[in-house]
């Protein structure tokens, strides 16, 4: 397959009528959603609504969970079905990076955390790795803070710095799409601000999908917002429209804090 150039896509990810089960329990019902390129898309909704499950399906992280399966529907990334047998899940995850809710750097030095992804791809050249480390840390707005202590343990960093390190680690392997699972849930407002700033900066080059509980955050950083409730996609539209003029009653109730 000849890889089409990046610009030829309007939609980075297309999800069509997806049904998802954990064992016998269905958690996603007929979800269809097109995620546009180079924009920030936010998934919101109360706990247990399936937004994280959907996010983890996008780079097949759910493969790790016993009994997780898609019974119906497709996920296309760059117009290619990611559950096709010919898809190497390793290659998929290189293109679709992920940042987790809990910042989880490896208990190694800051430098080693960034170079990890390069090493497992077989890039060993010291100069190349050095450049990549600096580039990724700069993109993640962390370089100035850590450039003098690259060889210190990553667990010496503050929570916000750790999360930005995780983002830098993801950037180092040069993904095209970045999935973020509540990246700011355990951060204080100042750290959250830095991460949000970073996300807005990254938007130009990457397609970002973010799951968040914080509706102000969704409002601040996302271009489009999808609202999920009990495994159903209730509404998906421009963020402004969702927040100012939702077309569904449930969305309005949720936004205005009547439940959830």
């Amino acid at each position: 397959m000849i890889e089409p150039s990046k610009t030829s896509f309007k939609h980075a990810i297309r999800i069509s009528s997806l049904d998802f089960y954990y064992g016998k329990k269905q958690v996603l019902f007929n979800v269809s959603l097109d995620i546009p390129e180079n924009q920030v898309t936010a998934f919101i909704g109360p706990s247990g609504c399936g937004k994280t499950t959907l996010l983890r399906s996008l780079n097949r992280m759910n493969d790790l969970i016993d009994g997780a399966r898609i019974s119906n529907g497709k996920i296309l990334i760059r117009d290619y079905d990611i559950h096709n047998k010919s898809v190497d899940v390793i290659e998929l995850r290189k293109k679709v990076g992920m940042v987790f809710q809990k910042s989880n750097p490896f208990p190694k030095s800051i430098y080693q955390n960034i170079s990890y992804g390069l090493h497992i791809q077989g890039i060993k050249n010291k100069r190349v790795v050095d450049e990549k480390v600096e580039e990724s840390l700069t993109k993640a707005a962390l370089w100035e803070e850590v450039k003098d202590r690259l060889n210190e343990n990553a667990y010496g960093l503050s929570g916000g710095q750790q999360q930005r390190l995780c983002i830098a680690r993801t950037l180092a392997v040069e993904p095209e799409i970045i999935l973020m699972d509540e990246p700011c849930s355990s951060l204080d407002p100042v750290a959250t601000g830095r991460v949000e700033e970073l996300i807005l900066g990254l938007k130009e080059k990457y397609t970002i999908v973010i799951v968040t509980h914080n509706m102000q955050q969704a409002g601040r950083i996302s271009d489009r917002t999808a609202f999920f409730y009990l495994g159903n996609l209730i509404e998906f539209d421009q963020t402004k429209k969702i927040f100012l003029n939702p077309s569904k009653k449930q969305t309005e109730d949720y936004i205005s804090g009547k439940f959830g």
């Binding site: 790790l64 390793i90 290189k94 992920m98 987790f100 809990k102 989880n104 208990p107 497992i120 667990y155």
Partner: protein
């Protein structure tokens, strides 16, 4: 205000309650249980240390002999009014020293110098009888004499047979028994001949077997044939006796020369034995025709005997087997057993744990495997010993060997290592696995780079338990790897490198067992037992603390 009075108004005065009572009792039970355990541990250590240090710190400082030597017999001697304990090696050195002292005293006397001169002169004189020209004559004489004497014997037996009636009367037997009488005479004749000519022993036995029929049921004709055959046999084989005589002469000559160059007690002993050998054969050869040399030989041998008596030093000693020397081979053996078994067990155990923790899908099959592993850890060690004996020693024909011991011990500790390794693999945060995979790692890369390194401290901790158990068990190695006594160290006397794996070794716990149960008990063996136990304890403590240090280092390196 009065304090007592204040008490009586105390609003917080404690009141009796059942709950408090129960707590008090429970507390005292818990406390005494803890103290009891402490007491037992302290007593054990105190006992082993106090008794074991007798052996380990004998003399000044550490008793290196105990740590670096092989087990030996202990010789307890009375010297200068004190009791001394000497292991075989030292005992023989001590004996040698005493002999030398006595020898030096002897060599300074005039009588010695005279005797020495006499010996040297006469030995040179009489040894000329083995010169080549003489040898021909000696051989001729020998053949003549032996033929004559054998001939006479045969004639006598033939005469016995030819007049059987008279023979029966003379020997007071029935006439029918005469044949078997003669037969027994001939048989004993050949036995004596074999004894006399040690060099010809096998040839004579062969001759006897060849003519078995003639000897077992002799008749006159048969005996005549046998006589001729035997005379022929003597003619062909007696030169060998002569050659032997010449060789012994040469040997005596050589020991004489080395002795007179530099007389020492050891060389004297050699000279004496060379002379004795020579004289024995000489007596046989010259038994009928005494010559003038025989007189001189008598003088020489009596002279040598006197000397020998003087240098023989007897030291009275009480001997205790296994109680002297050291336990070096057992230390080496134990280390080899532990290292080999742990390498095998950790390799197998970690791979098994990875499979169970990372690859195995949870289900009935997996929980059955877990249950089996758990049950395996409860099997008594003697059963593992029997299992190893049956499988490795007998079926695979590895004999009692290091490799059989390794596998038996490895299988014994596997459950501990698998269970604990799986535990520590599972304790690694799921986040490490997920982020590694999300960065494009394959499953194996993820395990290798983001799980195993962080699980290592836990795996090492579990191995500590394993090391202590492997080093300490006696039963599994009793049938599979341990020898009660082996004087060579494992790297000594190997014909091929692979023999290293197929040799038995000594081991500390088995050695303790042997010296405690298999030899007569006395104060000296008790020292040995406790000394070995102490070394063993120190060995275990050393291994354990090494692992603890290693673990804490790794923990510091990988903290999260």
């Amino acid at each position: 205000m009065n304090l007592n009075k204040m008490d009586s108004y105390n609003p917080f005065q404690s009141s009796f309650s059942k709950e408090k009572m129960v707590e008090k009792i429970a507390f005292s039970v818990m406390r005494s249980a803890t103290y009891f355990v402490l007491f037992c541990a302290a007593y054990l250590f105190w006992d082993i240390f106090s008794k074991g240090s007798n052996k380990l710190f004998e003399g000044d400082g550490i008793n290196w002999e105990f740590l670096t030597q092989k087990p030996q017999t202990l010789h307890v001697i009375e010297a200068n009014g004190t009791t001394q304990k000497l292991s075989s090696e030292k005992y023989y050195k001590f004996k040698e020293k005493k002999t030398l002292e006595k020898w030096e005293q002897l060599t300074s006397t005039l009588t010695y110098i005279d005797s020495l001169k006499f010996l040297e002169k006469n030995l040179t004189l009489v040894l000329s009888e083995t010169s080549i020209s003489n040898l021909e004559i000696i051989l001729e004489n020998l053949i003549l004499v032996e033929s004559q004497s054998s001939n006479r014997k045969f004639e006598y037996w033939i005469s016995l047979l030819s007049d059987a009636e008279l023979t029966a009367k003379d020997f007071e037997i029935k006439e029918s028994q005469v044949f078997s009488l003669v037969s027994s005479f001939i048989k004993s004749f050949f036995s004596t001949e074999g004894n006399r000519f040690r060099v010809l022993e096998s040839e004579i036995a062969f001759f006897k077997a060849n003519y078995f029929q003639e000897i077992a049921s002799p008749d006159i004709e048969g005996l005549n044939v046998l006589r001729l055959k035997y005379l022929k046999f003597l003619e062909t084989h007696l030169p060998k006796v002569a050659t032997r005589f010449r060789d012994l002469g040469k040997k005596l000559h050589k020991s004489k020369r080395t002795f007179f160059e530099n007389p020492t007690p050891q060389k004297l002993t050699e000279l004496n034995s060379a002379a004795t050998n020579y004289l024995n054969l000489r007596k046989l050869i010259f038994r009928l025709n005494e010559n003038e040399n025989s007189k001189i030989w008598e003088a020489i041998s009596s002279n040598l005997e006197t000397f020998n008596r003087i240098v023989q030093v007897e030291i009275q000693s009480k001997d205790f087997s296994y109680s002297g020397g050291g336990i070096f081979p057992a230390i080496v053996g134990s280390i080899l057993l532990v290292v080999g078994a742990m390498v095998i067990a950790i390799l197998l155990g970690v791979f098994c744990a990875i499979f169970l923790a990372e690859y195995g899908k949870s289900g009935r099959f997996l929980s059955m495997i877990r249950l089996a592993i758990l049950n395996l850890s409860g099997v008594p060690s003697i059963i593992f010993g029997l299992f190893g004996f049956g499988l490795f020693v007998i079926f695979l024909d590895w004999n009692v060997s290091l490799i059989a011991g390794w596998f038996t011990l490895a299988i014994m500790v596997l459950p501990i290592i698998i269970t604990a390794s799986e535990e520590s693999l599972r304790s690694i945060p799921q986040g490490f696995r997920e982020s590694s995979l999300a960065l494009g790692a394959s499953k194996w890369t993820m395990i290798r780079t983001s799980v195993l390194p962080y699980a290592m401290p836990g795996i090492i901790t579990s191995s500590i338990l394993g090391v202590a158990r492997v080093a300490g068990e006696t039963a599994p190695i009793m049938f599979t790897a341990a020898y009660a006594m082996r004087s060579e160290l494992p790297w000594e006397g190997l014909e091929h490198w692979s023999d290293f794996f197929f040799q038995g070794v000594m081991a500390l716990p088995y050695h303790i067992y042997i010296v405690s149960t298999k030899i007569p008990q006395n104060e000296y063996t008790i020292d040995m037992q406790y000394g070995t136990a102490l070394v063993f304890l120190v060995f275990i403590i050393a291994v354990t603390s090494l692992s603890v240090i290693l673990r804490s280092r790794l923990r510091k390196k990988y903290r999260w």
